[in-house]
């Protein structure tokens, strides 16, 4: 296995011991219940063509969601159940319910490329192969909605409730499924269906309704579904906008690996010689890299196994894992045992320990005091009661006094000095933006800091500085190009999105590369607004002077390029001069060209502006051709 062989992401790939603790996270099991009644196939918009059916919208949404899921949470399992179908296909042999599946896959299983592929083209053949009809009709006593929930419930029987979350997601545009029946049968059907939904929810399965409304006819939840899903009071009013938001979210999901929340480590945070509290660490920000690579046999596509062997460089003998390491020093070989090395790395009294050294004002933490992504710290009372309280008190004090804590973070292999910066909780209407706690920032040692600014000190002792006027112009510029709502992480990584997009193309055998927008490019329209252009021009004139553009052009035209051109010209002139002293036609006729040296041959070629490449024979032939012989 080789992570990222191209090395695109290598820059970031510090072997991060934290990732070794990744465990198989809990699973999400979803059954998508898709209404396939004729109503779903009727045009959704009044002016739309055939494609704009609700069924089409749902399929599109499902395919997009699966494409995102296969990259983000490929361990989650899905089932796709159509109801109100002509054909039936389900273990329970229920009418009008069709469980869609492809080869090499259980009905409820991880999504596969084939599933996505067949699902994305299902519309073309759906009506002929599976068929659509109204499942609930007067006189038949069949209840397709009830059947569908039953089938889905059976599918979701898999997996324990502790380690999985289970959901049914129901797509329909029929707000009154039992509208066609009447009387006692209707009441009975409603009662059984609501009861079934209740049973399902009692089993810990969540039912989500994603209703589709037409512009002229809004989906009315109160008719039936509010009862079935269990909505009450205000929830009913807020339901529709929320649901349409959900639908949109499903379609526009970012292809992104999802990590389940888990702690990385439990540490003791030693405040003084005899006060220790307990904290957990979490990795909130880590560079995401494309998934692992498996080497395959190009002929058979069967995975390969890597075998590593150690060979003695001196004798060629095959070795077991060498027990000793060495380092050359002062023309000698100094040997270490592995245990000696780990003893050197491990500082006494520090493993998994965060030892507080003291506090400093925040301005002591400079912008260049950084090496790797920060780690989040949150208190825990699991082993030591009272930890959370002490942590909260410390957190409050640090925030109020504007201090950060300096601590020594001991691990078995890479102990570091760290800054603990308290972060207040930040919440917006959409939830928590910054969790409360502390961020552990790895500080560089003096060995890691380079004094680069001192490399190019001004030779005459004074470096030029901007004048007040120039700074003012710069301020005006800054005001103009202001990103008011900038938030860190607002950009998707274009390289990663491209990677996932390409992977999808290959896996699904698609013809076209999905259009991936590079969000990281500057806003050209914004920069060409007159106000901005003016501010930029004024700044430029203030710092560079009036004639900067012309001077620069001159420099580029008259600088390196002109030099090279002059040189080339001189060579050509010399060659032409030299070339004249030979009688080329005569030499060629007598076959004497091959007696000349390559340098001599090149005089002719240069003088006549011919290519100079190739071996001697090639050069001679070129001359002959040029002479017309």
């Amino acid at each position: 296995m080789d992570l990222d062989p191209e090395g695109i992401f290598r820059e970031d790939s510090d072997s991060d011991e934290e990732f070794s603790q990744e465990k198989e996270p809990t699973k999400d099991l979803v059954a998508y219940l898709v209404d396939a009644s004729p109503k779903m196939f009727s045009p959704a918009t009044t002016d739309g063509g055939k494609d704009d059916t609700h069924f089409h919208a749902v399929m599109n949404c499902l395919v997009q969601a699966l494409k995102a899921q296969i990259i983000g949470r490929s361990y989650d399992e899905v089932a796709i159940v159509f109801f109100n179908t002509k054909e039936k296909k389900n273990l329970q042999d229920q009418e009008a319910v069709y469980v869609f599946n492809v080869e090499e896959r259980e009905p409820l299983d991880k999504p596969t490329a084939r599933l996505i592929k067949e699902l994305s083209s299902i519309e073309d053949t759906f009506l002929s192969n599976i068929g659509s009809r109204y499942g609930i009709t007067p006189g038949s006593r069949e209840n397709s909605l009830n059947n569908a929930i039953w089938v889905a419930q059976a599918l979701l029987r898999k997996g324990s409730a502790k380690t999985t979350t289970k959901r049914m997601v129901l797509f329909t545009n029929e707000d009154d499924p039992f509208g066609s029946v009447a009387g006692a049968i209707k009441t009975d059907m409603i009662r059984t269906t609501v009861q079934r939904a209740k049973d399902v929810q009692d089993l810990g399965i969540l039912i989500e309704l994603l209703p589709l409304s037409r512009p002229d006819e809004e989906f009315n939840v109160s008719i039936f579904y509010a009862d079935m899903v269990g909505l009450e009071g205000d929830e009913i009013a807020q339901f529709l906008p929320l649901a349409s938001q959900k639908l949109e979210d499903m379609t526009d999901q970012l292809r992104k690996r999802i990590f389940k929340k888990r702690k990385v480590k439990t540490l003791t945070f030693q405040l003084t010689n005899d006060v220790c509290i307990e904290v957990n660490t979490y990795a909130l920000i880590r560079p995401t890299v494309p998934g692992t690579i498996t080497w395959l046999d190009a002929m058979t596509n069967i995975p390969l196994r890597t075998e590593r062997s150690f060979i003695c460089n001196d004798t060629g003998a095959l070795l077991e894992e060498a027990p000793k390491r060495f380092h050359p020093y002062n023309n000698e070989v100094v040997k270490f045992s592995v245990s000696e090395l780990s003893a050197v790395k491990k500082l006494p009294n520090t493993a998994n320990n965060l030892r507080l050294l003291g506090f400093k004002p925040l301005h002591c933490l400079k912008d260049y005091h950084n090496l790797r992504p920060s780690t989040f710290i949150f208190p825990s009372d699991e082993d030591i009661f009272g930890s959370t309280r002490a942590f909260i008190a410390l957190h409050k004090s640090m925030l109020r006094l504007g201090r950060f804590a300096l601590a020594f973070y001991g691990t078995s292999s890479n102990s570091r000095l760290v800054a603990l910066v308290a972060q207040e909780e930040v919440t917006t209407s959409s939830g928590q933006v910054e969790p409360p706690g502390m961020h552990m920032i790895h500080l560089p040692y003096s060995d890691d800091i380079r004094s680069v600014e001192e490399i190019h000190t001004a030779t005459d002792g004074v470096a030029p500085r901007a004048t007040e006027e120039q700074i003012k112009k710069a301020s005006a510029l800054i005001k103009r190009i202001d990103l008011k709502d900038f938030s860190v992480c607002q950009f998707a990584n274009p390289a990663l999105q491209r990677h996932y997009g390409a992977l999808q193309v290959f896996a699904l055998g698609e013809d076209e590369m999905p259009d991936i927008k590079d969000e990281t490019l500057p806003d050209e329209d914004g920069l060409s607004r007159p106000g901005v252009v003016k501010a930029i021009e004024e700044f430029k004139t203030a710092v560079y002077g009036e004639n900067y553009n012309e001077e620069e052009e001159e420099k580029t035209a008259g600088g390196a390029h002109a030099d090279a051109a002059r040189k080339r010209k001189a060579i050509a002139e010399k060659a032409a001069e030299e070339s004249k002293s030979y009688d080329w036609a005569v030499l060629a006729d007598k076959g004497k060209l091959k007696e000349l040296t390559v340098v001599e041959l090149k005089y002719y070629l240069t003088a006549h502006n011919l290519p100079l490449t190739g071996k001697k024979e090639v050069l001679i032939n070129r001359i002959l051709t040029h002479l017309g012989k």
């Binding site: 920000i285 060498a322 100094v334 260049y368 680069v452 860190v488 992480c489 990584n493």
Partner: protein
């Protein structure tokens, strides 16, 4: 390699006021030499001491004066000898004159290199600059500095001055004048002046390894398509990693002088189906996971659709500093400096940096450092207003995460946690005082442990050990140097100064270990006084320990077993010793060792008691109680039950009857089922076991 060789002269003040810190000077200088032996084998070094009793330099002979400056080593290629001589510096008794020393150093460099090797010559002076320098024959001291600076500039000599003064030192006229002179040097030449006040900072103040600076990018910082600033980008921080050691092969015959002893690692790819078949590289193809499948994709197919941004650094916009929180910085830090000698670029950077600083803004950039690079970098540019007149203003650049890099975990609000977890006003006050009291940047002295002057203790330790091992191949791992220990533990002086605060904190917050978790808890969360058992065991790394050695031994890798036999239960405090042993987790054997030791200790006590000395009876009961408790915690009921039964059988018919009878009333019974599942004794039976005896004895 040799092209880049550096010529360095170390000027070391060994005058009387420096004696206290000379051990650290010796260490840092020898580390410098050691690293040169590894990373700069062709560098040349000279060493000059000043403040010595003797005078030994060419200038003194040629022109006279320059007393108490002795050349310890002339400038020549670094060798083991160089590392050796700086380890034992002879203490001098005369106040050192750093100006004389600098002149001697310059003289040596000029004589050695003449006009060659410009820009690769360096003088490094370590002094406390506490004594007045001599008044020159002509002109003022400042003029002398100017003259010397001129010389240095002409020959391309750099000066690095490290001034060490203890924090409690009162500054007087002399030190102020000296500081001014050294500062004058720094302004006049390519010089670096550093003030430190602790031995730890001294170890970090001298750069022990020279890394040739390499630009990551040279080109335009594009404000807009028609407004660009020429910049060079360097790495500002980059982690110096623990060196990768090569694997050692001992296969070569000892007579082979040219043996490399290296081990080659060979990778072979074999088919899963036919384990013996090796698949050649050209027949391999990369497979990428897509759901449960692995999709094979040839590298030329990837190349065709790979993301290929254009090289360049573009501004996306400016934003408030508060929009970019510190914890989002992702990597090591870059530095944007204006193109050297390009005054327009220097002014442009200066204008923007200063405007940003005034307005509290930062800039967001999109960077592609090289053509053909497969990804883009989004990051934040922050101003770095220069501290020295001769250094241009510049920017720091930190990489920011992408949307994919963020994991949105939710945490409970502190306000919503149970009231029992909220600190009281009193506790809050204790915390406030604690945070204020443990101040590492007190106004009256230099910042304590500033990253810029704090060396990496692990690397320091490794290189010292490497040097030691080259001389004594079977040397044991060194304990951590006291000056380096200040990086891993707080300064004892600081702690003792603030003792009331610490005690108050400890009192205010009642921290208790969760009893249920004790078994799995690997952490000795509350350190205890070292017990006699630990003092007897005398761990290898325990010298100068200020905190409990209990913790230390647990972490000490060599403790895994070797100490099992060393630990003992002493007479002074047997119960504590036993508990300490039971809670050790470095080896699973500890529990049994502890139980066995306790049993034999109790047997001893009882035996003594039989011989008429019953003063130990109470002690024996305490020990039995501790053993019983330990066996319940460790769920080893049978260990205890069998022991108690044997004890009972052995002594029931002796004078100890009475003693045994007391046990039950003291709570020492057999361990019963409810206490430990493995026990086959019921509660009733357990309690009844000794009662009979008790009744009899009364």
């Amino acid at each position: 390699m040799a092209r880049n060789k550096e010529g360095l002269v170390l000027l070391l003040d060994v005058g009387p006021s420096m004696h206290g810190v000379l051990p650290e000077v010796e260490k840092v200088c020898s580390l410098l030499m050691q690293k040169k032996l590894i990373f700069g084998k062709y560098d040349e070094v000279g060493v000059v001491l000043f403040g010595t009793d003797e005078t030994e330099n060419e200038l003194a002979i040629e022109v006279g004066g320059y007393e108490h400056v002795s050349v310890l080593r002339n400038i020549k290629v670094v060798d083991g000898d160089a590392a050796e001589i700086v380890q034992n510096l002879k203490r001098g008794t005369f106040p050192g004159d750093f100006m004389d020393a600098i002149v001697v150093g310059i003289d040596m460099l000029i004589k050695k290199y003449g006009s060659t090797n410009k820009g690769k010559q360096r003088i490094c002076i370590i002094t406390d600059a506490r004594f007045p320098v001599k008044v020159p024959y002509e002109g003022t001291k400042e003029e002398q500095v100017d003259a010397i600076s001129e010389q240095m500039k002409e020959h391309g000599i750099k000066l690095e001055s490290i001034v060490f003064r203890e924090p409690q030192l009162v500054h007087d006229e002399v030190t102020e004048e000296n500081d001014r002179l050294l500062d004058h040097f720094a302004k006049r030449t390519t010089a670096r002046l550093v003030h430190v006040d602790s031995p730890t900072s001294l170890l970090g103040a001298l750069k022990t390894r020279n890394v040739a600076p390499v630009t990551v990018y040279r080109g335009d910082l594009e404000i807009s398509p028609n407004c660009k600033i020429k910049v060079w980008v360097y790495k500002k921080t980059s982690e110096e990693k623990f060196p990768t050691l090569k694997k050692y092969s001992d296969k070569a015959p000892p007579t082979d002088k040219y043996a490399t002893h290296e081990v080659k690692v060979d990778y072979e790819y074999k088919s899963m189906v036919e384990p013996d078949k090796v698949v050649p590289p050209e027949q391999r193809i990369k497979g990428y996971r897509y759901g449960p499948q692995v999709v094979p994709i040839a590298s030329h197919d990837w190349d065709a659709i790979r993301f290929r941004p254009e090289k360049g650094v573009k501004l996306l916009g400016f934003t408030d500093v508060s929009n970019v929180l510190r914890q989002y910085y992702m990597k090591d830090v870059y530095m944007f400096i204006p193109e050297p000698k390009n005054n327009r670029a220097i002014v442009a950077v200066s204008a923007i940096a200063r405007a940003m600083k005034e307005m509290n803004k930062c800039a967001i950039l999109r960077c592609v450092w090289r053509q053909g690079q497969g990804n883009v970098v989004i990051g934040v540019l922050t101003p770095n207003i220069s501290s020295g007149d001769n250094i241009p203003d510049s920017f720091f650049f930190n990489v920011l995460p992408f949307a994919e890099d963020l994991r949105e975990f939710q945490f409970p609000s502190f306000d919503r946690l149970p009231a029992a977890w909220q600190p009281t006003a009193e506790q809050q006050e204790a915390a406030d005082n604690f945070v204020l009291g443990l101040d590492l940047a007190p106004p009256e002295r230099e910042e304590i442990l500033p990253p810029d002057f704090t060396p990496n203790p692990v690397l320091e330790r490794f290189y010292r050990f490497l040097d030691l091992k080259s001389k004594q191949p079977d040397a044991a791992v060194l304990p951590l140097d006291p000056a380096l220990k200040r990086i891993t533990e707080p300064e004892p002086e600081l702690l003792s100064l603030q003792l009331p605060l610490l005690e108050n904190l400890s009192k205010s917050f009642e921290l208790r270990e969760n009893p249920k978790k004790k078994k799995t808890s690997k952490i000795a969360w509350r350190t205890e006084q070292p017990t006699n058992q630990e003092i007897e065991a005398g761990p290898a790394g325990g010298h100068n320990e200020t905190t409990s050695s209990n913790n230390l031994k647990i972490e000490d890798p060599s403790a895994s077993g070797a100490f099992l036999t060393d630990a003992n239960i002493g007479d002074l405090n047997p119960v504590k010793d036993f508990e300490a042993m039971m809670s050790r987790r470095d080896s699973p054997k500890w529990v049994h060792v502890a139980i066995e030791k306790m049993k034999s200790y109790i047997n001893n006590l009882v035996e003594n008691s039989v011989e008429g000395d019953d003063s130990n009876d109470d002690k024996a009961i305490e020990c039995l109680k501790a053993l019983r408790k330990g066996c319940i915690i460790e769920q080893e009921p049978n260990e205890f039950n069998i022991f108690l039964k044997v004890l009972f059988e052995k002594w029931r018919d002796t004078s100890l009857r009475r003693f045994l009878g007391h046990l039950c009333s003291k709570g020492v019974t057999l361990i019963y089922k409810e206490e430990a599942a493995d026990s086959d004794v019921t509660e009733e039976a357990a309690k009844g076991f000794l009662v009979k005896l008790e009744a009899e004895s009364q």
